[in-house]
Amino acid sequence: MNEVILEARGLKKHFKVKSSFLSPPSLVKAVDGVSLEVHRGETFAIVGESGCGKSTLARLLMHLLSPTEGKVFFEGVDVVQRSGEDLTSLRKDVQFVFQDPFSSLNPRMTVGKLVGEPLEVHRQDLSAAERGEKVKQLLEQVGLQGDHANRYPHEFSGGQRQRIGIARALASGPKLIIGDEPVSALDVSVQAQIVNLLSDLRDELSLTFIVIAHDLSIIRHMSDRVAVMYLGQIVEMGPAEEVFSNPRHPYTIALLSAVPEPKVGQQKPLVPLMGETPGPSASIPGCQFNNRCRFARDICRQSPPKHSVFGEQGQHKVACHFEQGASNQTKHNSLSGANTRSPQVETRFQLYQAALHGKKAVPKHPNAIEQEELT
């Protein structure tokens, strides 16, 4: 579990953006000095608001974009230097699942062709018939039917299309899958199906996942470790349980408090976050977060904070000058798990869950229900 499969060192990606003909181009620091390690077999999550650079980071990690500075190592080999056939073999090991299942599948290709395409590139030893067989097997693996291979993407619902996207990513037999918001375009009930599918596949095929999302409660469910990004930098990183129950960076605290929970009568105090995320080309001296942070002092406006390390084996890293002051304020913030449901209601939930697992629920008084229907 502790073997490093992917490592990024001081990764930077700066884009030049020309706003008008006469003005000099401004520099957007989409990713600005990110270092991280992903271990084999874990699910690593990257969280942040829109514009924080999380999608750019994902694309850098699998060399869909070339970094301005820094290095990415996959299984110890530098990814950035790879090209040609070397890069093709990297693509075999690292695959991508995209956010929008409606725009990421070619509408003119059948599902069989879509899922078979990576096989044509990476498994040239397979004959057409073997490929067809493999496609069927992949479709069944993600919970579709083998004969769906002859259909077109428009015949499927959003959740089914995301399953096709996952089957396509699995086709080349990857070791690492990067998902850019793989469930955020889906409905709640379907989202839960895909989250369960991904965790089953991870265990079955011993995959490693990097998941990018903005939905914190989904992240908590899916991931082993979490990195929180703000304006191109990782502000906090650590084991998921640790980050969610004991957040130390003021930004993480504010982010967690802003998530509305589906519970009635348990008001958690909102940690206000002043203003909005500054534009990507804004240059803020010192700590990037200082203009929205309520703990900001002079030192925050002058020098950028270093990562300080907490927890067992130093796994919890925080980039803040005053993380101690901030984390003390959060103690009252964790919700008590008080259960407001009565035993009868709990029975309903248990019945539902048992019925999903194939147990049969029968009417207690069969006649009572029929009589009710007659009246």
């Binding site: 619902s157 709640v188 839960a192 869950q353 999903l356 207690k364």
Partner: protein, 336 residues
Amino acid sequence: MSAATHCNKDIPIFSVSDLTMRIAGDASDIVERLSFDVFPGKTLCIVGESGCGKSITALGLMGLLPPQEVAVRSGTIRFEGKEYLAAEAHQARHLRGDRLAMIFQEPMTSLNPSYKIGVQIAEAVTCHHSGSYVDAKKQALAMLAKVGIPGPELRYDEYPHQLSGGMRQRVMIAMALINNPAVLIADEPTTALDVTIQAQIIELICELQKNTQMGTIMITHDLGVVAKLATDVAVMYGGQIVESGPVASIFNAPQHPYTIGLLSSMPNLSGYKERLFTIPGTVPNVQSMPKGCRFSSRCPFCSSVCKTQPEVRVVDDAHSVACHFAPLDQTLELSA
């Protein structure tokens, strides 16, 4: 049946009864026999997944659907003491944007990109009230300040593309509320926004509602938002309200298997991390809606009795449900 009879001291400000709509050419109804009440100062949340008909209901109530494409087959709307047919809603132009206002989901596509935002807000005043543009501008500036836009005088002359997503949604809210509407319909107002901005917008809506006592219909699929905002909840599935009642009963004592499934498939921020429970299958489309109970194709308790349409039953203090087996704990048991 009303969704919120527990506060019957108040008179509902907006009532819908028996609303049925069908898209031209379809074989079955997209929205079937919807009835609910909205009370002043209260929020009714309509919850459901995509395709359950919640957005088309909102558009229908506002009279924004083209009558040749969507047929309103039945239904009456009672608003501020006047009763009119839902089929005539599109003629009620004097109400739209004045007494009855709406906030849309995607603020970028619902603002006109070629007009300054201030002009778009002031237009709502000049359309409905006589008076000079100067007065309207004054009101618009005051409203911009009220929804928390810093430097209203500067922002007044900006175009939508110069604002961030959260700011645009604030402009939409300013535009909807400038004429002090009695009822506000909000169709997923925070879905396109980040969580921190979503929290700010929810606070803003709560605060403005407290000051003006308007009734709000909030349409959303996010149960977290519902728990934070709602006084009453109506759960929609396949164009019908399957369960409705006060927010506490829906969350703490749900009756319908769909509501139970929805609540169990929500991931939590606290508590034990366990495998998520799902609702098997996907929402059927209007053409292939099952006969009888529309949830029967995905319900783990489905049996022969579910081929007939379940009656809406009141189970507990304004809490009503449409399921043959409700309450589940009393009617069902696991077979050995």
